[in-house]
Amino acid sequence: MSSSAVLPVTGTRPAAFPSDRLRRAAEAIVIPVGALLVAMIVFGAFMSMIGKDPLEVYALIYKGAFSSGFAWQNTLQRAAPLILTALCVALPAQTGLILIGGEGALVLGGLAAAVIGHALSGGSPMTVKIGMAMAAMFVGGGWIALAGALRHYRGVNETISSLLLTYIAIALFNHFVEGPLRDPASLNKPSTMPIGDANMVGHIPGMDVHWGLVYGIAFCIVAYVLVRHTVHGFALRIVGGNVRAAKLAGLPVGILILVSCFLGGAAAGLAGMAEVAAVHGSANASLIAGYGYAGILVSFIARHNPLAILPVATLLGGIAASGGMLQRRLDLPDATVLVLEGIAFMVILASETLYGRFRMFQPRET
């Protein structure tokens, strides 16, 4: 199974007619939605097996995730880091690389943001915020670019190296947070020095959602335009489609791979910065929350399309947000949402096999 098999088929063959493009778009919507319905039926069967009414469960999930302004804010708050960590998979995937190191880029980005935030804390808040974002993106990007460089120059498989780098990143993070960079005042929960309340990026005006969401949406839009509507993005996708063809065409393959990895890592690093500067106020173990791994699934379900990441991450955030409601109302364990997510992912990933199988979605021959 080659890695290119998971890349979106869109674009490998230019759509000649608008109706062809429409068919392909319909395929990209109908198959995942259908898979989601199948997953809901499977989960519903499981729920009735343990004696709960599946319809009631789904009603509660909707209520907890999307029914009110409060629920939406909870959902979006949880979606924000997933959007950015998903980009850490989706952007390198354009060049055919499967990177699973977003967690490492996130924690190191968060650590860099906390260090810079504390070091600059005398300056104006705007300087501090920009400094934190730049540091986080630079460190996160560099970390993932390292995996890309190992791949390109040494032939080290990027999936494995990024996984190893994640463990090394988490070890470095723990070492610094509990050792040299520990704030002596943080007794029970080792943390770095606080960045100071004035330097927190805070919430979007009028909402209880932090600015990380805006960073994520902006990053997704920029990534989409870059990948789908610029020459550089086209070059990335040529590398992903066929490295030898890209070399023959004279494209700088190494640089393209490094850039795509750097941008992806920068997104994950920014997620870490948002966690530090908008949620925790310092770097501590709460950053290691599995956002990086959840982002991998978001990206695969979105088929590495930067715009599709937004609805997928929102859906995932919504399911996670409804966990508390299920726990309180139906006395279900908090892991219920994990079961639903797990079933949904397995079915959606299996549905990958259906692309190109349905006649009605295929372009008509002329």
Binding site: M1, L150, G179, F345
Partner: protein
Amino acid sequence: MDGTSLGWWGVPIAVLGGAIRVSTPFLFVSLGECLTEKSGRINLGLEGILVMGAMAGYGISYLTGSPWLGVLVAGFAGLLLGLLHGTVCSLPRVNDIAVGIGLMLFGTGFAFFLGKPFVQPKAPTLPALHLGDWASSPQIQAALQINVLFIIGLILALAMSWAFRNTRWGLVVRMVGDSADAARAMGYQVNLVRVLSTAVGGFLAGVGGSFLSLYYPGSWNEGLSSGQGLMAVALVIFARWRPLHCFYAALLFGGASALGPALQSVGVSSGYYLFNATPYVLTLGIMIATCSPRRNLAGAPGELSVTR
């Protein structure tokens, strides 16, 4: 363990004891992953299988009072999850890495869901063999408390090592992993062999999980696994897909994770986490040293997607 009375000698003894105690789940999970990867697929979902095995083993041991039945059921739970991974990945165009991550989430979620009632109660755990009773020092006695599963794992590593070379089944798995075309030409069903290899690999990972909950640390909770299932992937590469080397690698990984606490007991408290990271740095270093853009990693199955 009190290392102060022995001074610095306590460190190697504690590391040895830790290596034996901590390495068993590593050993089983890596043998399972080794088998799966030999057949040409990678299963990143062993973490989920491990947690599921830990939960199933503990739950069954609590309900029936027999820890060995728990180990067996843990294996079968792992077998089912492995079967799921293998079957889904047999569909064309489905990516085994992504499905593995999905399985990791599904397995841990399902285990947490079903394992909620078993967090509090105390289940009977597996007995230990006291091989160190000849020694007067309590440190050495503690270090040589060996679980039967460790010995089974060692025998299994030797048996797999032999079987990959000398049995029809071993050769078929290796051929499927090295060249699906050759296997097809010989009339073997590539997907069937891979599904079975993944399922048996899942069985071993499930047994490894039951060791966590039934021997060391010896209880069931949601923070039980510290990523041993994911590390298995690194471990198998470190061992270059050789079962016996998986055994050495598991000891090394186990010893490395025991080094931090052992040093702490003699007063070296900094660098605790960095010691924990040594296996990863070593694995990465070996990959960097031995890979080249022009050829495969030596010893890697030819069909393995992550080494191409």
